[in-house]
């Protein structure tokens, strides 16, 4: 981990985002440092995916201050955030079904030679990147429409890693993967963290988070509901933050609401 | 068809004649010109065949049709071009391939070999005379509405004639097509514009427009109808004239035109001179001294139906005097009182 005195890789303050009358994010703040994995947890609809999209510039925030390595920045456009060094794997990890794997990986940042696509180089780089990831993709010239769901998921991850980002946003990246693949992916996250990347990881699975995350930020109904150190906080406390058991005079029933817990 | 099958190889009299007509909105082309030309050619040359195409007002279609005919190896083309100058290139190509082109009804640019049509000045004069005869002694100070299709705005002889007689063209309405709908909507606008009582006559560019004009006047409850004139002597127009709703139309005896065209085309196909057939010559922007036949149109009113369209076999009495018009026919003396 980096020293606490260095400015965080990315710091958000007072982020608001509404879709019509739905307040998806209200006054959210978050800090992510280099060499750190921050998990974001929260119930369905808590705004986790929206947070990722705001940071990636895909759904710009309505209000909020962003600092990148201490410097104020504007995260209003996807290609702008990519240039900063932010990359994301979205929950729906959508790809262009009519392009091949290489085309999808390099979409928006094609390698050109003399103004023309350099398919050779792109193919080689795709090949070597995919070989380092937990799911095998035999043919990088296959249209992605012919891939299985774990392959699709991993192509999305590869796409994010391609630009060698400094901050990686992973929105439920273990979907559709089997146990061994999940384990490999988490190994990869740790490796990236050790290489000095900042990682924001969204997951419902406490086990995954315990394994790789340093801190957990909890969102509840679009608002911050605490940041916890994974190693020192009892998980019951995190779960109450997620389910909101702390912010109400709890009823008989809600006392029982813990997710996958006793 | 340089060396194609039709021209040189076959018997000299077995010609293939291409007939290209421009449209089908006006009924004359399909109802008269085409059958008449086919008839006249058959009558003069039993072995000849006619290859026919109608361009439906599409320049490109006509171009392709003529190209197809050249590919097939026809010997002569009778061409009524969609527009005056759209077939110039094709005509040049045909001539280069040794296929003579006879311009029919409309003078076509390019090296054409002959031309047959009605005298357009005479048509214009007949239109003017028709309007004036409709107005009778009210011509002086009369307000005439002119309803036209998409024509190029050249001087029309009737304009001067009306002016001379003291009639005023109080409005000229141009429509995008020669159709009854346009006649209707243009006249509706004219009525709203000028007031229903200020229309003393309507000069319609052709019979299709005139039909719409009459509908519009009737819908506007203008009674009695002002004199309406048209052109082409289409069957509905002849009926309207019998019924007294339309005053006159310009009658062009298509039979004569078809005869002349057949004669000229066969002569051209046989490589003979047109001198014996042609009655004069015309010039175009691209060719001079084209041998031509210019026929005289006739005015058609209720008084001369029998000696024009009926005598020439264009329409029969039965076609004109359908039950609805029976009475009118009796009144006009076309048929005797019903037995």
């Amino acid at each position: 981990m980096t020293q606490a005195s260095a400015p965080p890789l990315l710091a958000l303050r007072g982020v608001h985002k509404s879709f019509g009358a739905v307040h998806a994010l209200t006054d959210v703040e978050l800090e992510i440092r280099s060499g750190e994995v921050v998990a974001v947890m929260g119930d369905s609809g808590a705004g986790k995916s929206t947070l990722v999209k705001v940071i990636a510039g895909v759904e710009p925030a309505d209000a909020g201050a962003f600092r990148w390595k201490g410097r104020p920045v504007d995260l209003a456009r996807p290609h702008h955030t990519r240039d900063l060094g932010i990359a994301a794997v979205y929950q729906d990890s959508a790809l262009c079904h009519n392009l091949d794997v290489v085309g999808n990986l390099f979409l928006g940042s094609e390698i050109r030679r003399l103004g023309v696509l350099d398919e050779g180089t792109m193919g080689r780089r795709t090949r070597s990147l995919l070989d380092s990831l937990p799911v095998q993709i035999p043919d990088v010239r296959a249209p992605v429409a012919s891939l299985s769901s774990d392959q699709l998921q991993i192509v999305s991850v590869a796409r994010a890693l391609l630009g060698e980002p400094e901050l990686l946003l992973l929105d439920e990246p273990t979907q559709a993967l089997d146990t061994r693949q999940v384990s490999n992916l988490l190994d990869l996250v740790e490796r990236l963290r050790d290489d000095g990347l900042g990682v924001l990881l969204i997951s419902h699975t406490m086990g995954d988070i315990k394994a790789v995350a340093d801190r957990v930020a909890v969102l509840r109904l679009g608002r911050n509901n605490g940041v916890f150190d994974v190693n020192t906080t009892p998980h019951e406390q995190i779960i109450s933050a997620i389910t909101g058991a702390t912010d109400h005079a709890v009823s008989q029933r809600t006392a029982n609401r813990e997710e996958y817990g006793p | 068809a340089t060396g194609g099958p039709g021209g040189t190889a076959a018997a000299p009299d077995a010609l293939t004649i291409g007939v290209l007509l421009p449209e089908s909105e006006t009924s004359r082309y399909e109802t008269f010109d085409r059958p008449l030309i086919e008839q006249e050619i058959a009558a003069r040359c039993a072995d000849c065949t006619v290859s026919y195409a109608n361009a439906h007002n599409d320049v490109r279609a006509q171009h392709q049709q003529m190209n197809a005919m050249l590919t097939q190896g026809i010997d002569v083309v009778i061409l009524d071009a969609v527009t005056e100058d759209s077939m110039r290139g094709m005509v040049t190509q045909a001539t280069e391939e040794g296929i003579p082109v006879l311009a029919y009804d409309r003078l076509t640019q390019g090296p054409i070999s002959g031309y047959v049509s009605f005298d357009s000045d005479a048509i214009g004069e007949l239109q003017g005379e028709g309007v004036l005869s409709g107005l009778g002694d009210q011509a002086d100070g009369a307000q005439v509405v002119r309803v036209e299709g998409p024509v190029w705005s050249i001087e029309h002889p009737a304009e001067a004639m009306l002016e001379q007689a003291g009639a005023e063209i109080s409005g000229t309405y141009w429509g995008p097509a020669w159709s009854p709908e346009n006649g209707y909507s243009l006249t509706t606008a004219a009525i709203a514009d000028l007031g229903p009582d200020n229309i003393d006559a309507v000069w319609a560019g052709n019979d299709a427009l005139a039909a719409g004009v009459i509908s519009a006047l009737k819908h506007a409850r203008i009674d009695p109808l002002p004199p309406v004139t048209g052109q082409d002597a289409e069957l509905p127009a002849v009926r309207s004239i019998v019924a007294g709703e339309m005053h006159m139309t310009v009658y062009k005896p298509y039979q004569l035109q078809a005869e002349a065209a057949a004669e000229m085309a066969l002569a051209l196909g046989r490589g003979e001179s047109l001198d014996s057939i042609a009655t004069g010559t015309v010039n175009t922007a691209t060719a001079r001294d084209i041998p031509s036949v210019e026929l005289q149109p006739l005015p058609l009113t209720v008084d001369n139906i029998e000696e024009t369209v009926i005598r020439d076999g264009m329409y029969t009495l039965d076609e004109i005097c359908i039950p609805k018009y029976r009475r009118a026919c009796e009144a006009a003396g076309l048929v005797g009182p019903a037995a």
């Binding site: - | 909105e25 009924s27 009854p180 209707y184």
Partner: protein, 419 residues
């Protein structure tokens, strides 16, 4: 707790805004446009608002208005029917050929022509609903085919006239000359409106919802009555109530009733809102789609007969594209959305009044036909831009409406193409 009866102006505005959200832009812009157009043309040409011209207008709108009414159904699905112009021409031609050439009686020929167009519409609907071909592609091809078929039917002559005193000709030429006719229609319309409004208000009260007060209903009824009686008075000044206009009103009102008060109409709206929701609710999506295209074809046929009726002729020359564009423009101007689910048949009436007023005014002013085309196109463009912007406003100001339009909210694993 059961109901929030916000009273007075604020409540009224809230209700209006709510209605705007469900029903798109609604008729307000069209009404304003109409007032503006009438004022401008009346200033430019004092004959514009003459009883004669207004009476003519009330007949002239019918043909195109019926086509537009059929299009409203298709637009409610969020689809388009580009074949309506051609279908209207085809059925008019079919009528004329059957009646004139084959001597079929007029009513029978009308029936055949309308049935053929209905079948053609159902065919478009089938290809769209069952084979998955985009509606614009089916109907574009159909437009060309029906056009060709019409030409083939009319054959050489190109135009065909039918009896100008017959049934079809009467459709536009007959007027109910007695003043009582127009006035009683006005009275009837006003009365029915009042009853319907009271009924709706009662139903709202029954479900514990804010309902219109009696005063409000009375005021609205009075306004409608004023317009209705003024129109009746104007029509009576010329030739009385035109049959065509009466039929048009009846058809529009009848179909509005079908759309708003029957289960079938509810299904049409539901499909325009969300095909998937409708499917999950067990609706027969394909059947509704086919039926809607059949309705569109049928109304196009009726419209074609009214258009032909004015001149008692059917000709190749009338350009189906202009009919098509005017009809789309009418529906959209009147407040029916291109994006489905929002609109009423009345919008066709209102929109066609706007379109035809412009056409009539331009004709009076002697504006060339070419320029008229450009202006009609401009009107359509303005209407669709307004509709699109209104929709955008709806999407960004209401929670998650049409969320699927912003595919980031959708969970498709592989991208989401627009089309």
């Amino acid at each position: 707790m059961r109901q929030l009866r916000a009273q007075g102006v604020r409540g009224y505005l809230a209700a209006w805004r709510r209605r705007q959200l469900t029903e798109g832009l609604g008729p307000a812009p069209a009404v304003l446009a109409l007032l503006l157009i009438w004022t401008v043309f009346q200033i430019l040409d004092s004959n514009f608002l003459s009883p004669r011209n207004l009476s003519n207008l009330s007949v002239d709108i019918v043909g195109l208005g019926l086509i537009a009414t059929g299009l409203v159904f298709v637009l409610l699905l969020g689809e388009i029917d580009l074949s309506v112009g051609a279908a209207s021409g085809l059925s008019a031609a079919l009528f004329a050929v059957l009646n004139v050439r084959h001597g079929m009686s007029e009513p029978l020929a009308v029936l055949c022509a309308v049935a053929a167009a209905c079948a053609a519409g159902a065919l478009h609907g089938y290809i769209f609903a069952r084979l998955g071909v985009p509606a614009f592609a089916v109907t574009l091809a159909a437009a060309l085919a029906w056009n060709g078929l019409m030409a083939a039917l009319l054959g050489g002559s190109g135009t065909l006239s039918f009896d100008d005193e017959g049934l079809v000709a009467k459709l536009t030429s007959h007027h109910f000359g007695h003043p009582a006719a127009a006035y009683s229609l006005a009275a009837l319309a006003t009365g029915l409106y009042f009853l319907a409004a009271r009924r709706r208000s009662r139903a709202q009260r029954a479900s514990g919802t804010q309902s219109s007060s009696v005063g409000e209903i009375a005021a609205r009824t009075a306004a409608l009555g004023l317009i209705a009686f003024a129109a009746a008075a104007v029509l009576n000044q010329y030739q009385g109530l035109p049959l065509a206009f009466l039929l048009f009103l009846l058809i529009v009102a009848g179909l509005d009733y079908v759309l708003r008060r029957t289960a079938y109409g509810r299904q049409v709206y539901a499909l325009g809102g969300s095909v998937e929701v409708a499917r999950r609710a067990g609706l027969n999506v394909a059947a509704v789609r086919v039926s809607v295209f059949a309705v569109s074809g049928t109304l196009a046929a009726l419209g074609g007969l009214f258009l032909a009726s004015r001149t008692s002729t059917v000709g190749l020359s009338s350009a189906p594209v202009i009919l098509l564009i005017s009809a789309i423009a009418a529906a959209v101007i009147g407040g029916t959305s291109l994006f489905g689910g929002r609109g009423r048949t009345w919008s066709a009436l209102l929109g066609i009044l706007v379109i035809q007023s412009i056409a009539s005014g331009m004709a009076l002013l002697g504006i060339p036909a070419a320029i008229q085309l450009v202006i009609t196109a401009g009107v359509l463009l303005i209407a669709v831009i307004a509709d699109s912007l209104a929709r955008h406003a709806r999407l960004t100001h209401t929670p998650g409406a049409d969320q699927d339009r912003y595919p980031s909210g959708a969970g498709g694993r592989l991208g989401s193409g627009t089309q």
